[in-house]
């Protein structure tokens, strides 16, 4: 029994960090699900909204010595304001325009962080950021529990949105804007609103990631984060609240936790070839899913089920 325990949890710090990443991808995936899977907004700049929150949190804590809650609030607001502005810009663009514009937003955030060295530390980095509490060896685990809780709340909210008139409005906006407008639905306001709300969530997740890494670098905000989130969501099922979870377990869970922890790969291979191979596999997986199961493992929404349950709502 002890051997099994050691095998599974022999590297608790690595396991915990891997699970942090997993939870972060799931949380971002749930928010992207509301944008892309429900409202049809293809956000290719997830890293930018998340990074805006992460760096705002770091700057507030390190540079201005602001307390945790205020810094987290600022991180949420930073993501929300960026989402609001982006939503307003992309509301009238077509799908290709939205992808390009959101990618541009992420690039602008990254370049701003790299160039504004006085505030962000540039490529030298910004730190250190500590957990808001210290309970010794169990601090990491407690923070993981908090991340589980936050992800759980996001999942609960996404599931409730599907069963609400608001969710119906988002689906209508995502599938037929002119028809939604003709039914007196304010399509532009709806898109701006959902972008602001979900980007605020991404900013908050960024803030919560700060204490995990302690030190912030621009390299943490590359497009790899966005690709991981999109891969997880598309693989799991972009139209289903649980899609991001299923996809993240099969990608981040498998590659960043299971293989790294339990498959005895040579260190050199693990450090150099593995990350590149992982990205290649992610890309191939995306193409495979889009070709053969476009709605992902979990498939499309189950609106008939919801309608059958209306009498019990």
């Amino acid at each position: 029994m002890s051997a099994v325990w050691d095998y599974l949890f022999g590297s608790p710090a690595f396991l915990i960090f891997g699970t942090y990443t997993l939870m972060m991808i799931v949380g971002l995936g749930i928010l992207l699900h509301l944008q892309l899977g429900v409202t049809g907004i293809g956000n290719f700049g997830v890293a930018g909204f998340w990074g805006a929150g992460l760096y705002t949190f770091g700057i507030m804590q390190v540079t201005y010595d602001v307390g945790f809650w205020l810094a987290l609030l600022a991180a949420t607001a930073a993501g929300g304001v960026l989402g609001l502005i982006t939503g307003w810009v992309i509301a009238d663009l077509d799908d290709d325009g939205v992808l390009a514009a959101t990618l541009a937003v992420a690039t602008i955030v990254l370049l701003a962080i790299e160039s504004e060295k006085d505030i962000t530390g540039g490529r030298v980095g910004l730190g250190t950021i500590d957990f808001p509490f210290d309970i010794g060896d169990r601090t990491d685990l407690a923070w993981l529990a908090i991340l589980f809780g936050v992800t759980g709340v996001l999942l609960w909210y996404a599931r409730r949105v599907h069963r609400s008139p608001y969710g119906r409005l988002l689906i209508a906006t995502g599938t037929n804007e002119p028809l939604a407008r003709s039914l007196r639905k304010p399509v532009k306001r709806t898109k701006v609103g959902v972008m602001a709300l979900t980007s605020a969530g991404m900013g908050a997740l960024g803030g919560l990631y700060g204490p995990i890494v302690h030190f912030l670098f621009p390299t943490q905000l590359t497009v790899a984060i966005t690709v991981s989130v999109i891969t997880a969501l598309v693989l799991g099922g972009q139209q289903r609240p649980l899609g991001a979870f299923v996809g993240a377990v099969l990608t981040v869970g498998l590659f960043d936790i299971a293989i790294k922890l339990y498959v005895p790969l040579p260190k050199d291979l693990l450090e150099h070839a593995f990350p590149v191979t992982k990205q290649i596999i992610f890309g191939a997986l995306l193409i495979f899913v889009l070709l053969f199961r476009p709605l992902g493992i979990l498939g499309g929404m189950r609106r008939e089920r919801h309608v059958k349950g209306l009498s019990r709502v």
Binding site: Y166, L179, S182, R184, E304
Partner: protein, 262 residues
């Protein structure tokens, strides 16, 4: 331009159009100096293909933007310039249009689609995630009433045929409780029996105060349903009058009906 019955706004909301033009390239599709719609309970809009009927409706709803001119909604003592409003604001003011080409929401079932139409802005806020019960309780009976009248093969699922989608489009619009309903070929693709049901339903709504402006190629519907008919040709309304006057008019016979139709 105007012959026969002139339109005199009474208690009903009316749409006043002035100097409205729309061109696509070199071709002028709509060119109307003055026109009032909605003064009578049911007004037919007929004319040959390419006369500009659908474009006129789209200009009123601002799903297409006019080159020049104004569209004003007169409702009692208030006047609102529709040609400056967004489409969803126009619908909020009670001017609603069905679609000539079948339109639907790919991800929404029939019930979803109807609840969406019925729900108010206050029900659709991001924080009101427990509002479904209220919406179902408030509008469920009305929706069920429509579904009892119009038969769908799978009321709990999705609309399948073009006819079902056409009906769904009409019911969605009726759930908005419009003051003026613009119907663009509402019975196209529907059986005779369903067409009769649709007209019966519309008559009930008209009796309750709704005005109808209808574009329809089934002229039996126009002659039997309309109080006044506007005849359009080459982008302008060139003739107005009661159905008997219009169907016997030489211009209409020559440009549209053909001599064997009267």
């Amino acid at each position: 331009m105007s012959e026969g019955n002139g339109s005199t706004p009474g208690g009903r909301a009316t749409i006043r159009i002035s100097g409205l033009t729309k061109s696509f390239g070199d071709q002028t599709v709509v060119n109307i100096d003055k026109l009032v719609l909605g003064a009578k309970p049911v007004e037919g809009l007929i004319g040959p293909n390419g006369a500009g009927k659908t474009t006129l409706m789209r200009l009123i709803m601002r799903s297409t933007h006019a080159d020049t001119g104004a569209v004003v909604l007169e409702d009692g003592s208030s006047e609102v310039m529709l040609s400056k409003l967004a489409p969803h604001r126009i619908a909020s003011l009670g001017v609603v249009k069905t679609n000539q080409v079948t339109q639907d929401f790919a991800g929404l079932t029939i019930w979803d689609s109807l609840l969406l139409a019925a729900a108010q802005r206050r029900d659709e806020r991001p924080h009101r995630i427990y509002r479904e019960r209220h919406v179902v309780e408030t509008y469920g009976e009305e929706i069920q009433g429509y579904l009892d009248v119009f038969e769908f093969s799978e009321p709990g699922g999705f609309a399948h045929s073009a006819g079902e989608k056409k009906l769904l489009d009409l019911i969605r619009c009726l759930l908005l409780e419009p003051k003026i309903l613009l119907l663009d070929e509402p019975t196209a693709g529907l059986s005779e029996e369903v067409t009769t049901q649709v007209i019966k339903m519309l008559r009930t709504k008209v009796a309750e105060g709704m005005s109808v402006i209808i574009v329809e190629h089934d002229l039996d519907v126009i002659w039997g349903f309309s109080d006044i008919v506007h005849f359009m040709a080459e982008g302008d309304v060139i003739l107005e009058g009661d159905p008997d006057y219009i169907r016997a008019h030489s211009t209409v016979v020559e440009k549209y009906l053909g001599s064997g139709h009267v």
